[in-house]
């Protein structure tokens, strides 16, 4: 695990004179042109050591999703190196800026880690290989075309001469990068496409992996924060004198006008002092909001006239008006917290001349920008060192905690300060899974054919909360994930001649954010629950009904799941439910097997099929699929954040339960890559988790669940 080693290597010393600290990593890792035998950077992606060790640079963050391993496989495939010699490291966002963004995008979200960068990282590996081959050819005085690279060795075919990558690295580093690069055909892959084990497992089983929250530096202090319980509220006053003399407490500081932090020798001392600190808040206009007021606002949106149109094919309203039969249902989806296992944290050192931050982040460059802004220093005088993440799920795409850490460290110049949020702070202050309601209206003609569908979503916009610059004439296009009329990202799966999907944007003071699966989660529930309702209304089997209207790729993946599951052949007392959706560039479907006995749900087994186009690591995709059910079923069964007096009421896992081991169904992943495209796999399957189970519950009980979480509903027969 080179990234961890390098973090140690880069650990800095705080000087004895105030404000002086030296940084072992201040020089971007060597484009080293030193003595022979030194570690060589062949290009931005590939570093080769004299002993043939290969270090592959990974720009995207690793938060459990396995992207680090998948990206390394892609580089190694083109590099033709020995996979057993590969380790990885994270370049810093500051180095990316200094090198004209040679690693391009650091942002790790939207299941884009691999699908957005596969081409240029493979080109990076291929270019390095070509430079190694060129170096060998030059040394032997032969043509490059006569030499080949495999397993970290370049061979001259005619003479049988061989040189290892380590021996060639110094020369290769001086070669001109190739202008033309041809990538391998997927069918020729040897390392990529295989279910190799993750590269980052060993330090995760013996406690040696250093997460952001584990960082320790000489002289470091620990801070913990309380922000206004109501988002948008302000800090009015606090009585520092009441806690300043408590053991270990160093300082009590206001943060950003909205929060207060205690800085102490250790976390527990900071936490106890913060608990004892008298604080007064100005809750602001959001303080009057409750779950009931939000629900009323969303309900109004279900019939509002002024809406944003996402998808319009034909004339759904006319089709509904002229229908032989109309079916209508209203659904809702609550706020949810990501609840990463590692609470938010960041460690910062600030001086008037430089600011360094260590943190778990899904967006290193955004974290750098946030740090520089908070530090009031140019970006060139700041850097962010990315730690492994103890979970991300979209939460760590925001840099609110980075900003806070810098603002706190600024009040202790020259001293490293680690900010750790309590679980309670974490639960109350995120950008939550948006809250929405949805009215579905379906129209059948006299022949029983589905001729019209109107999907009215009423609720929050993530972009309006977090990135209003991304709105398009006020409309949030992300709202329509999985509901698009076309395109490669999230196409609506059913051919319905008259289709209207529109959005009544209804925002509150509570921030909405990207939450693993994002808007696909509720959109899939609305579409796939309602398709079941339509099938029942038409008196047809839910799978047969869907198959009549599904587009070919959507249908193929649903068929794959249902075939493996043995749809329609469930054992007595066991019931099947199905769902499909396209999102994040992939087609996914699930068939759930459940039973309900005395009102108690048991999910026995779920078969989930995925067509991501191209498979980089099947073993890791299987884990993402299984994990998606844990995340999606946690949300479906238990996940709800409610609002009282403007504040989120759930503060820890006792009031915000999640799925445990004993409830985990057996998940079987079926991969059916159809080739020719690259879809994401970390998120789409979450979309089908809830609707497949909800539809199976209907099959078992006749109860149609239209609001979550499931724990609010009585599944006993009436």
């Amino acid at each position: 695990m080179n990234a961890i080693a390098s973090m140690d290597r880069r650990s800095f010393l705080v000087g004895s004179t105030a404000g002086v600290f030296s940084l072992g990593f201040a020089i971007p890792f060597a484009r080293a042109q030193g003595a022979a035998g030194a570690v060589r950077e062949i290009n931005a992606w590939v570093v080769i050591h004299p002993d043939d060790k290969v270090v592959i640079r990974i720009a995207r963050s690793e938060m459990g999703q396995g992207t680090l391993t998948g990206l390394a496989q892609l580089v190694a495939e083109e590099l033709e190196c020995d996979w057993s010699k590969v380790s990885t490291e994270f370049p810093t966002p500051g180095q990316n800026v200094a090198r004209n963004r040679v690693w391009r995008n650091f942002s790790t979200g939207g299941s884009r880690g691999i699908r957005e960068s596969h081409e240029y990282v493979r080109q990076g590996g291929a270019a390095a290989r070509m430079m190694l081959v060129a170096a060998a050819a030059k040394r032997w005085g032969v043509a490059e075309a006569e030499c080949t690279a495999a397993n970290s060795v370049v061979t001259h075919g005619a003479s049988g001469r061989k040189l290892g990558f380590g021996a060639l690295a110094a020369d290769a580093a001086t070669m001109e990068p190739p202008k033309e690069i041809r990538l391998k055909d997927v069918k020729d892959w040897k390392v990529a496409g295989k279910g190799v084990k993750r590269l980052d497992t060993a330090p995760k089983v013996d406690g040696t992996l250093v997460y952001g929250i584990d960082l320790r530096f000489p002289g470091m202090l620990t801070a913990t924060i309380r922000d206004c319980p109501v988002q948008g509220g302000k800090l009015k006053s606090f009585d520092a004198a009441k806690v300043e003399k408590m053991p270990g407490v160093r300082k009590v500081v206001a943060v950003d006008g909205t929060g207060v932090a205690v800085i102490a020798d250790g976390y527990w001392q900071a936490h106890k002092a913060l608990e004892a600190l008298p604080v007064e808040w100005d809750m602001g206009p959001g303080g009057k909001t409750s779950s009931a007021t939000i629900d009323a606002m969303l309900t109004e949106g279900l019939t509002a006239e002024n809406v944003f149109i996402g998808t319009k094919i034909g004339d759904a309203k006319a089709a509904i008006a002229g229908a032989a039969k109309v079916v209508e249902a209203v659904y809702s989806y609550p706020y949810q917290n990501h609840a990463t296992m590692e609470p938010m944290n960041a460690t910062a050192v600030w001086t008037a001349d430089r600011c360094e931050v260590w943190c778990p982040t899904q967006n290193g460059e955004a974290a750098l920008a946030a740090a520089a802004e908070a530090a009031e220093l140019p970006v060139a005088k700041c850097d962010v060192h990315k730690a492994f993440l103890g979970g991300g799920f979209g939460r760590r795409g925001r840099s609110d905690y980075v900003r806070q850490a810098v603002l706190i460290a600024k009040q202790m110049p020259g001293t490293p300060v680690k900010l750790i949020w309590s679980r309670e702070e974490d639960m109350m202050h995120c950008a939550f899974h948006p809250v929405t309601k949805c009215k579905m209206t379906g129209a059948f003609d006299a022949a029983g054919k589905l001729v019209g569908l109107h999907m009215r979503i009423s609720g929050q916009s993530i972009l309006a909360s977090l990135a209003p610059q991304g709105l398009q004439n006020g409309m949030d296009p992300v709202v329509f994930q999985g509901l698009n009329g076309g395109g490669a990202e999230g196409q609506f799966g059913y051919d319905v001649p008259n289709l209207l999907v529109d959005h009544a944007m209804r925002n509150t003071h509570i921030l909405a954010g990207f939450w693993r699966g994002v808007n696909l989660n509720h959109n899939a529930i609305y579409v796939e629950s309602f398709m079941d309702e339509l099938a029942r209304a038409a008196g047809e089997d839910p799978l047969a009904f869907r198959r009549k209207y599904l587009k070919p790729k959507h249908r193929a993946v649903l068929d794959a799941a249902c075939e493996r599951a043995g749809y329609g052949k469930a054992a007595p007392g066991i019931f099947h439910g199905v769902a499909q959706i396209m999102g994040f560039g992939s087609y996914v479907a699930a068939c759930a097997e459940v039973s309900v006995k005395d009102g108690k749900l048991k999910i026995h087994r779920i078969v989930a099929a995925t067509d991501p186009g191209t498979v980089v690591n099947p073993a890791q995709i299987e884990r993402q699929v299984a994990g998606s059910f844990v995340y999606g079923l946690s949300a479906a069964l238990y996940g709800e954040c409610t609002v009282k007096d403007g504040a989120i009421e759930q503060t820890n896992f006792d009031t915000y339960p999640v799925l445990h081991m004993d409830e985990m169904p057996k998940v079987e992943a079926v991969l059916v890559p159809s080739g020719g495209f690259w879809g994401g796999v970390g998120e789409p399957t979450i979309g089908v988790a809830a609707p497949a189970v909800l539809n199976a519950i209907y099959a078992a009980t006749g109860k149609r669940i239209r609001s979550l979480p499931l724990s609010k509903h009585d599944l006993r027969s009436a």
């Binding site: 406690g207 320790r216 053991p247 991300g392 995340y631 006792d654 081991m661």
Partner: protein, 149 residues
């Protein structure tokens, strides 16, 4: 002053006796393999053994440890040889983000010590740790594999 035996070694920690063992381990002694997740004994990320029994160290005042012998994730291997649970974790490629895994592994090691051949029901009852990435299926497989090892 708390006198603790951790992974076979004596440690003296000058801390408030009410300080949870978790923060003594992490902040005072620098043993950060044991994780903070919830602070209220719900998630299990902070699981350590005291005299072989799994304990959630976030909610245990250090003064309550007494003479108990503490084992943390750092001390689970025996002279550099991984515990069979750790080995099974590697072979089954269990961790995703890995943050909950110290606690998972400590809970699983305690389970195997008590029940060398646990059933799925035994696993369900003993493994109440929370994993948000969703490694439960691999955790179960790895426990069964370790039992057979």
């Amino acid at each position: 002053m708390a006198v603790l035996t951790i992974n076979g070694k004596r440690h003296d920690a000058s801390v408030d006796p009410e300080t949870p063992l978790l923060w003594v381990l992490r902040d005072t002694l620098g043993m950060t393999g044991t994780k903070y997740g919830c602070g209220i004994a719900q998630c299990g990320a902070c699981t350590v053994h005291i005299d072989g029994v799994p304990v959630r160290s976030c909610s245990l005042p250090v003064s309550a440890v007494g003479e108990g012998k503490i084992t943390t994730i750092e001390g689970l291997a025996d002279n550099g040889k991984l515990h069979k649970i750790q080995q099974a974790w590697i072979e089954n490629d269990v961790p995703q983000c890995g943050y909950c895994q110290s606690g998972m592994i400590m809970a699983a090691a305690a389970l195997l010590a008590e029940k060398p051949n646990p059933t799925d029901t035994d696993i369900d009852e003993a493994m109440t740790n929370i994993c948000r990435c969703g490694t439960y299926q691999q955790v179960r497989a790895a426990i069964h594999a370790a039992a057979k090892a």
